[in-house]
Symmetry: C2
Subunit: 394 residues, 2 copies
């Protein structure tokens, strides 16, 4: 049979990163392309103990159907924690436990976008989110990311000129892929602009806890008096990505529609994995675990950056990130970015060409992304050295 696919899915390609990772599944390749948490960052003993207790104390709760919004005690626990610690969430807000943070993008787009409507994104931005928006036939409008976050003049220009803008998508902390953290001033300005132009903000914060230097900045959601901000959080980087648990906090009217959407999508997030997160937050000093992870990543980030400084010379510029998982490097203008990335793979070092994160595959960029959480320290040193050798030939 000749299959005819929907318009929205026809042009969608598998994530470029995923394809690179497949091509480099060879264990001899140094994996600077991935975004996996470090194996040492998992609280293995706690998860073992918690899971054993869950299946001993109330196995039917873990195995039976749950409600779409998520396990209520977990919803309440996250809500009160986020309110107390970060001033996120108001009386009029509610919460859904999602299938990882990726589902937050899916549900937001499902409830807000008609085909052809516009999403304003930071350029570059996370490919998984961009592909999600594309899978709803969204028009993507990219606004340049600077060292202190999105260019707010260009953002206002886009809000003025683009048609049917439904939301602004932003990762304010240690943005993927740029590593940039948005300044407080810009956070306030983005909020003001969204309010002025009557569009929502999707604030995606998977890396917020992974700060290794500098001061914590309040989330955009923390100044949300108007029900404008949809806030997405995740346990992928602090507990486990494989359990696929995230959460979305937004005005209850938005949450009600997202719940109907989730019901039609996957009914509910698995009970067992929700219960693991619940007991981990409730019974363990998870903040101490996050501190431990930040220690690991601080050392890896510094190792990568120090080696970049040592080996890349004037061929690359970059902003040293204050956290997250990625370093975003800009090649000198005379170096062809795609052939550099191809050369890297040939030399058994995988990095991601920056084009993967652009609104259109043919948008020009001199950048590539490297990850420091997946490789061992030895591989970070070796990988950067190899890339430095390649660069020295330019």
């Amino acid at each position: 049979m000749d299959y005819i696919f929907s318009d929205k899915i026809s042009s969608l390609k598998p994530s470029a990163i995923r394809e690179i990772l497949k091509a480099t599944s060879d264990p001899g390749v140094i994996p600077l392309a991935a975004g996996n948490p470090s194996a040492e960052a998992f609280p293995v003993e706690e998860v073992k103990k918690i899971t054993e207790e869950i299946l001993k104390e109330d196995p039917i709760l873990a195995l039976q159907y749950g409600v779409t919004e998520g396990y209520n005690p977990l919803r309440e626990l996250i809500s009160s924690y986020m309110k107390e610690k970060y001033n996120i969430g108001k009386e009029s807000d509610s919460i859904i436990i999602t299938a990882g943070a990726q589902q937050i993008m899916d549900l937001t787009t499902k409830v807000l976008l008609n085909e052809g409507d516009t999403v304003i994104c930071e350029a570059p931005s996370f490919i998984g989110s961009l592909n999600c928006f594309r899978s709803y036939n969204a028009k993507l409008c990219g606004v340049e990311v600077e060292a202190d976050g999105i260019n707010v003049e260009k953002l206002e220009e886009a809000l003025k000129t683009e048609k049917n803008v439904k939301f602004i998508y932003t990762i304010p902390n240690f943005q993927n892929p740029s590593g940039v953290t948005m300044s407080l001033e810009k956070r306030k300005k983005v909020y003001e602009l969204a309010k002025k132009y009557n569009v929502l903000i999707l604030e995606d914060n998977p890396y917020g806890d992974l700060r290794v230097s500098g001061e914590h900045l309040p989330s955009i959601k923390s100044f949300d008096e108007d029900g404008i901000v949809i806030y997405g959080g995740s346990f992928s980087k602090i507990l486990s990505p494989g359990i696929r648990v995230g959460y979305v906090i937004a005005n209850e009217k938005l949450i009600a529609k997202m719940t109907v959407g989730k019901q039609a999508t996957d009914v509910h997030t698995p009970m067992l994995t929700q219960l693991i997160v619940y007991k981990w937050m409730k019974e363990y000093d998870f903040e101490k675990h996050i501190e431990k992870i930040c220690g690991i990543y601080k050392s890896k980030l510094e190792l990568m950056c120090d080696n970049i400084d040592k080996h890349f010379g004037d061929k690359v510029t970059y902003v040293r990130p204050e956290g997250g998982l990625f370093v975003w490097c800009r090649l000198r203008d005379d170096i062809d970015m795609l052939s550099f990335c191809a050369e890297a793979v040939k030399n058994k070092v995988a990095v991601v060409p920056g084009t993967a994160f652009m609104m259109n595959a043919d948008d020009k960029t001199q950048c590539f992304r490297m990850n420091f959480s997946t490789p061992s320290d030895e591989k970070i040193v070796k990988g950067i050295e190899i890339l430095g050798n390649i660069l020295s030939k330019y």
Copy 2:
């Protein structure tokens, strides 16, 4: 802020069943409205042991990111089992491990339907699937279900007259809500018609293993020589619904597009729950467990039907199902179905009005659905007696 929702989600309402269940969460209400597996049907001890082993043997595998298609050894195990046992799957087919069977409807619709395209459904049909199709702005065309399955003359008529039909949605075994099993002759005819009119078939088989009488019938997918049939299976009714693990087997071109769709939706199904299913299938006699479940449900089904025969008299007609979880009752024409269902809830017995399963909420039906897996035996007897008393007043 005044929210403006997408066209596709604006008209979508929470599942009527879910609302009934919320209204009747009072433990004093006899739950004949649900569709939960019986608590006795869970292999609790096995899951405990398996989970402990997984987290002992390879915790990082269970906690780290996985690939979108699913855990490869599980994909291979299900593929070979379904091929050997049911002749399902060919060389040109592939498989994805999904977030329950609900996600199969979501991915199928995502890759095949443009807004306004038509899905032909059995009328009545499973509300969760209908709501999924609605969430893509599908046009639903209902074709009547008879005692031996969909009316194939009316199906051909619909295929001839409806525009942009993309697939036929069917639950051939112990259909939800009608309890009907499609005859072999009709299975072949549905396949022929799909081929003739160049549309796909989405064969949803969550209850297939729950046969308590009669002979197993081959699935439509088992005669698929043309890559027409998308087959959906689930572990919800035989292992656990709360772990949300299903699978879809279809031509590899369809699976490739569904994989891209899943990647944009939730990245992958949780590793821990996939590993539980894997070890359960691989290391345990799960067919014996299914036999045990069928024994439990056979006794509950017979108990419910015998009591219907005893208490409902000529006020209700029904077809005794050969398996599944539901009994579908048709009220005598002079009885108002909706007021009967309201009267039932007033008397603390929850049943689902048949309108929930129709293409349009104002489609007429004299039917209501009852479930026998959730309530205890005592509650089945008591519930049917109460309904009988209500009926005796008509």
